[in-house]
């Protein structure tokens, strides 16, 4: 596709429910990143993938958060048993490769509201 796409654009859920956020990177980009943007914490890094592998999961806020990437393309960020503090905009980005100062191209984000 022309750019990074994310779905859904907005998601409202009830506390305790599970949610899945999807990211479609730019075709051919091997690296994929998830960030969270919230009022209290600003923009924070969550996890990155090189191919289908996520070598460093230390940025995930809790064990309720998980992410996977399949076929070196689409990635899913899953939040289990959502809490109100999970309300934020979740941004996905992709780059041609890992490291070397490669520019990260961002999607429009998914705004998550946990009631």
């Amino acid at each position: 596709g022309a750019g990074v796409s994310q779905s859904p654009s907005n998601k409202v859920t009830e506390k305790g429910k599970d949610v899945e956020l999807r990211c479609d990177p730019i075709s051919g980009h091997t690296a994929l990143y998830w960030y969270r943007q919230s009022l209290g914490q600003g923009l924070e890094f969550l996890i990155y993938f090189q191919g289908n592998s996520a070598p460093d999961k230390s940025g995930l806020p809790s064990d309720r958060f998980s992410a996977e990437r399949t076929g070196g393309s689409v990635s899913t960020l899953t939040i289990q048993r959502t809490q109100q503090e999970d309300s934020a905009v979740y941004l996905c980005a992709s780059s041609l490769s890992l490291g070397g100062g490669e520019t990260q191209y961002f999607g429009p984000g998914t705004r998550l509201l946990v009631l």
């Binding site: 890992l98 490291g99 990260q104």
Partner: protein, 118 residues
């Protein structure tokens, strides 16, 4: 760990004038990359300009230029001939060099909301 600081939460400028957004950072790395991204109300983060720390020459992209002072760990963005479409949140970001575990993550500042007035 790296930190990025943007000390101006909000700024405004008249159309066609010039404005400078400030950014300072703290790192023990000698080789790294610095970025300015803009985020309009549509939420889409868009790259404005990129600077490699080992290059002394300041990056320029049309109306956008940076003043990179490595010793002072300062990376300001100058927008010339401001346009209404420049209204957005601007984020300064840092990336370490290399492909090791944390090498490619971006560390962002708090952002500066820029408003261009007609």
């Amino acid at each position: 760990a790296q930190t990025v600081t943007q000390s101006q939460p909000e700024m405004s400028v008249q159309e066609a004038e010039t404005v400078t957004l400030s950014c300072t950072y703290d790192t023990s790395e000698s080789n790294y990359y610095l970025f300015w991204y803009k985020q309009p109300p549509s939420r889409q983060m868009i790259l404005v300009i990129r600077q490699e720390a080992y290059k002394q020459q300041n990056a320029t992209e049309n109306r956008f230029s940076v003043n990179f002072q490595k010793a002072a760990k300062s990376f300001s963005l100058k927008i010339s001939d401001s346009q209404l479409g420049d209204t957005a949140m601007y984020f300064c970001a840092f990336m370490k060099h290399g492909r090791e575990t944390s090498g490619s993550r971006l560390t962002f500042g708090e952002g500066t909301q820029l408003t261009v007035n007609p």
